[in-house]
């Protein structure tokens, strides 16, 4: 956003420093003066919540790494050592383990908010793709983190997921052995996963930096999906308005988080992961962590191994193409009556896919999974491109100020033009 860097260093030292490294001005322009649309709702607080969760995971993870040992014969015992004998080790580990789930809950809300309000549309395509990259990195980090306690689900989850790469023609088995560092999941695998689990969060932090940079360059989308016309009329400065709202939302989210940490810390985990890894005994049902379940359902609903792997990766990759698959010029679902319904159907389908992923892939569950998988792709590849062509959107307000005015009057939207899509 142009024209919001109003920082003027007052003291001599501050002026001297600012003319050499304008970092205080950068902080001022991005966290204090940055103009925020007036009409943002609480769905827009999840960016701040996610930043908090990333810091929370890195800090708790760094402390855990001080006590953990990545060596297959002792890793399970080391985690128990943290739980029992390290001062407040149980607290740090439960924060970290449940924090991963909270991170995903927040990111799913964040992603679905972006889908509902069309936040991926021009000029925010790069911002959105950076988000998809963060999501992918998060998945890789979480998967490798789950392996570290070296319980039964750690071991067998790692076996199942790394084995997916064996579906690649010709070089599959070579790749899998290279990933494992041997002929099965074992100590070398655990060690490299620990190393990468420590590395990837910092890569996430880097991409988050780009994500925020891109966001601050193009400005935030908003529930009405219209561009900022006038900084003075349409926006408020980030501090104090967004700062206090984000802080409030973050504390409410922390109450939710604390419910899990202190009262049901093992609810989101699998009891089998309290059994030490045993390569000779396969658990009855190998299930990944809950946040992978929709993709796990897609993987298993394709009868062919390579096809399943491709479908699973395609289910994530398709998100990156969303800015071009959605052909509508109107951003917000608020003004797209048909899209709004398809959005909610898609949300239900995604949740049901998650439930199906937790069930054994047989009989009725498998048939339902296949129908849901088909719908998942139809939503992106058929419904979204066609909707933009056939849907008649409602008229879009001329500006954020108009939308706010209409809302406070409780009356009709101030119409800018007859057909919404052309108002841009």
């Amino acid at each position: 956003m142009e024209g919001h860097s109003t920082y003027q260093p007052k003291g001599k030292v501050a002026q001297w420093f600012e003319s050499r490294l304008p970092i205080v001005g950068l902080i001022h322009s991005s966290a204090i003066a940055y103009p925020v649309p007036k009409n943002l709702n609480y769905m827009w607080t999840f960016g701040a919540i996610l930043s908090f969760m990333l810091v929370c995971q890195i800090v708790s993870g760094v402390v855990l790494a001080m006590h953990y040992v990545a060596y297959a014969p002792v890793s399970f015992a080391r985690v128990e050592h943290i739980m029992r004998d390290v001062n407040y080790g149980w607290l740090i580990r439960y924060i970290h383990a449940n924090g991963a789930s909270m991170f995903f809950i927040a990111v799913y809300i964040h992603i679905f908010r972006g889908m509902y309000y069309g936040s991926y549309k021009a000029p925010r395509e790069v911002l959105w793709i950076l988000g998809v990259i963060i999501y992918l990195l998060m998945m890789a980090t979480a998967f490798m983190g789950y392996v570290l306690p070296w319980g039964q689900m750690s071991f067998w989850g790692a076996t199942v997921i790394t084995n997916l790469f064996s579906a690649i023609p010709w070089v599959g088995n070579t790749i899998v052995q290279w990933l494992w560092g041997g002929y099965s999941v074992g100590d070398p695998t655990l060690n490299r996963f620990f190393s990468l689990h420590y590395l990837l969060p910092f890569m996430i932090a880097g991409v988050v930096g780009l994500h925020i940079w891109a966001l601050h360059h193009v400005g935030q989308n908003n529930p009405d999906g219209v561009d900022i016309k006038s900084v003075a009329k349409d926006t408020v400065p980030f501090t104090p308005y967004a700062t206090i709202k984000d802080t409030f939302a973050m504390v409410v989210f922390l109450i939710f988080f604390s419910w899990f940490i202190f009262y049901i810390p093992n609810y989101l985990g699998h009891s089998d992961n309290y059994i030490p890894a045993n390569p000779l005994s396969t658990p009855a049902h190998i299930v990944p962590e809950w946040y992978f379940l929709p993709f796990y359902a897609i993987l298993r609903s394709i009868p062919d191994k390579l096809g399943g792997v491709l479908a699973m990766f395609a289910a994530i990759a398709v998100l990156a193409f969303l800015p071009w698959l959605d052909t509508s010029k109107v951003r917000s679902a608020k003004y797209r009556p048909l899209f709004r319904q398809f959005f909610w159907v898609f949300a239900v389908v995604a949740v049901l896919l998650g439930y199906m992923g937790s069930q054994p892939a047989e009989g009725g569950a498998l048939i339902v999974s296949r129908i849901l998988t088909a719908y998942y792709f139809i939503h992106f590849l058929v419904i979204l491109p066609l909707l933009g062509l056939f849907e008649r959107p409602k008229p879009v307000p001329a500006s954020i100020a108009d939308a706010v005015l209409a809302k406070s009057k409780g009356g009709a939207v101030v119409v800018a033009g007859a057909a919404g899509p052309e108002t841009k």
Partner: protein, 281 residues
Amino acid sequence: MTIRSSLFGAVAAALLLTAGASGARAEDAHAQPRPHRMSWSFAGPFGMYDPAQLQRGFKVFKEVCAACHSANYLYFRNLAQEGGPHFTEAQAKQVAGEYQITDGPNDAGDMFQRPGRLSDHWPAPFPNDNAARAANGGALPPDFSVLAKARSYHVGFPGFITDAFIQYQEHGVDYIHALLTGYEDAPAGVHVQPGLNYNEYFPGHQIAMPKPLSDGQVEYTDGSPQTVDQYSQDVAAFMMWVAEPHLDQRKRIGFQVMIFLIVLSGLLYFTKKKVWSNVAH
């Protein structure tokens, strides 16, 4: 409107199909009944361990279970720590002293036996897994350290969601209690493999462990009933403590954190209202 209703129809159909699919799952659960939910002192937001129950459970463990089951992550010092069975340090020392621990090597390079200390691990009944298997008909008695968290049962929909709201985490101890009280004669037509025993709650119903507890087997000095049901509850509670020794502290801190966060969120809410009061939004 027609598009809307057909969309909702599709969603409803998907939900019904899902319910049908999970109904098929419920059928094979008949083979293995769901354990009864017991009332545990440590369940719920204010639940804490009952030291008297943990002491009774420890007695059952020491006199019966520990003959075959190890508890490798348990230290003698744990017996005297906060939020546990609340033995005095002298009592814990006395328990430790009843066991001979192999230590060494000494200055002459020899291993030697000495009485246990508070800093020692609970000694395992067998030197290694193979010895444990050899003495137990080929089956390995699982370690008790985290067993109460390593066992569970299928709750299904919608129970798994309501459990998050009512904070129910006691599936492991429910299962252990059900298993210990679930020994019965095999139903007609079921052939039990030699060396195995019929148990209603064990997956597959054939368990290597013979019925470990019988009425009156362990003497209680506090007047609690000396029944298999009571023994099972007490030893399950003890196993929960061994698996989660800081539960009392966790829930106590949790309550403080919740109060703090709720007050803070209230203050922030009103601050936010004040800050935004001059802006239409």
